[in-house]
């Protein structure tokens, strides 16, 4: 059952500092309200995975790995490969994470990342069919949060996309319904590059890319994921607050332009 979360106790004084700064158009780490923290992405950090990527978003650190295996397709999409996104909030990333089955926060994160990739049709799943209705390739994207300093959704989405871009598989031909692997190595067929941008509302002001302190004082957050043609492919509001329709529209248009910059920067680094 979903229950009101207990926040780690942050001193009232510290909360007030964060809120006051944002009210003045400043932030705890000297950024402007619409500045993104410096991001670095490193591909291929885990050799045994088909693809992997490690993302630093400020001090937030997320690792994503892609594994590809044959499996049975879903009955409603017999000729399409399967995409599965899972997220682990490993206990070493934050004093508030505990070992055990995924809680609602990691499920929400995984599902938001999944929606971005799925709804933007980032992977051409039709190309991953081996024999319709019998066998297809399953793509598992596992997101590992290693250090939690806020805005895990954006970092996870970036790492997942990086790992998919980095992912390689053997070319294959189909013989008697079984895949026969060839020498040639091919990339996973990508056709879109979704980028998530998260904003939070603190005391009536919205700021982009919240750090942990800002997340702890936020009233709510809004994640907007856009594809390469600037179309919106996924959104998610979180937290106990609310937004007016005008605030939402403003966040959406800022997010679209920010995503455009970030996507260009990321793809130039990756390729």
């Amino acid at each position: 059952m979903s229950a009101t979360r207990q926040f780690s106790p942050v001193a009232k004084l510290e909360q007030k500092t964060v809120v006051d700064l944002i009210g003045k158009g400043k932030r705890v780490d000297d950024r402007g309200p619409e500045d993104y923290r410096p991001t670095t992405i490193t591909l291929g950090v885990v050799e045994k995975a088909n693809g992997s990527a490690q993302v630093y978003l400020g001090k937030t650190k997320v690792l994503a790995g892609v594994k590809i295996q044959p499996g049975t397709p879903f009955p409603d999409t017999p000729d399409e490969g399967i995409l599965t996104v899972n997220a682990e909030f490993v206990p070493l990333a934050s004093p508030n994470f505990e070992a055990g089955p995924p809680d609602e926060n990691s499920i929400e994160l995984a599902r938001v990342v999944d929606r971005g990739i799925r709804e933007s049709k980032a992977i051409d799943l039709k190309q991953l069919c081996i024999e319709p209705g019998k066998k297809v390739f399953m793509i598992f994207v596992d997101v590992y949060v290693l250090d939690h300093d806020g805005n895990l959704i954006d970092a996870a989405a970036m790492a997942a996309l990086g790992a998919l871009v980095n992912a390689k598989m053997h070319a294959f031909k189909v013989e008697k319904g079984e895949p026969v692997y060839l020498e040639e190595i091919i990339p996973v067929p990508m056709q879109n590059y979704p980028v998530s941008i998260t904003s939070v509302k603190v005391d009536g002001t919205t700021v982009l890319d919240p750090c942990l302190e800002e997340e702890q004082v936020m009233s709510c957050r809004l994640t907007v994921t856009t594809g390469k043609d600037d179309s919106i492919c996924a959104m998610q509001k979180g937290g106990l607050g609310f937004l007016s329709p005008d605030e939402i529209k403003k966040i959406v248009s800022t997010s679209i332009s920010k995503a455009r910059d970030l996507r260009a920067k990321m793809l130039s680094n990756v390729k």
């Binding site: 959104m235 998610q236 939402i248 529209k249």
Partner: protein
């Protein structure tokens, strides 16, 4: 697709106080969706360690009956249900004055008996009424409705077939008095313009649903009052 205008809601039937044992309850039929919501509380927090010193803990379970869908759904909570329980709780929580009941819990149970797209929104519509029926102080009601895109057109309140064939789905929950959105999700593909259109459309629809919610609540109290009056008459006659 089912003969409605693009901004027309499916038929809505709302009933408040349908259950006997729950502190508050409501039943909503939104198109072919059949949804039951119940509220227990405020009651003692159990286990004790979940209690919060400054307000009540709000707990929410969204669950679909195994027979509610075309294919049988396993009764075990799926990842989707866990996510929806969370977003529904977050949609209702801003409206509940939980600071009046520190160290206690308010439990919200939403059971989807039949699902036909838009269950989370109808669930919110029902749960907000169940909270009000339980006598929990609220800043205002919360109403939910989705908009989406089918055949390249932005339309309101998708049905199941439309949702499956459609290009986008945008569930929204609104607190109508202060005109703020407390649930917003989206999947599919929308341009910025289409998104604005869909958002305005669903906000407008939430207002209409809110009117029906108020009507249902009022009706409930008239019924309770009538019953009380009758009882009073009966005792007078006996005396």
């Amino acid at each position: 697709m089912d003969g409605r205008r693009i901004d027309e809601l499916r038929p809505l039937k709302i009933e408040v106080g349908t259950l006997d044992k729950a502190d508050g309850s409501a039943y909503v039929e939104h198109g072919r969706n059949k949804i039951l919501a119940a509220v227990y509380g405020p009651r003692e927090a159990h286990p004790k360690h979940i209690a919060l010193a400054d307000r009540a803990v709000l707990r929410c379970r969204y669950h679909m009956a195994p027979f509610s869908t075309d294919e049988r759904k396993s009764p075990a909570p799926s990842r989707r249900e866990l996510e929806l329980s969370k977003v529904i709780r977050e949609a209702l929580e801003p409206a509940v004055m939980s600071e009046y009941f520190p160290r206690s819990t308010i439990d919200i149970f939403i059971e989807v008996l039949q699902a036909d797209a838009g269950t989370r929104c109808a669930g919110i519509t029902a749960a907000a009424l169940a909270l009000a029926d339980a006598g929990i102080p609220m800043r205002e009601l919360v109403a939910g409705c989705a908009a989406g895109k089918v055949d390249g057109k932005v339309v309101l309140d998708l049905s199941d077939i439309e949702d499956k064939q459609g290009e986008a789905d945008l569930p929204v929950a609104l607190m109508p008095k202060s005109n703020v959105v407390s649930l917003l999700q989206m999947d599919g593909s929308l341009t910025e313009e289409e998104f604005k259109q869909a958002l305005d459309m669903s906000v407008e629809a939430c207002r209409r649903i809110h009117e029906m919610q108020r009507e249902a609540l009022r009706h409930r109290y008239h019924v309770v009052k009538d019953e009380a009056d009758k009882e009073e008459e009966a005792t007078e006659v006996n005396a």
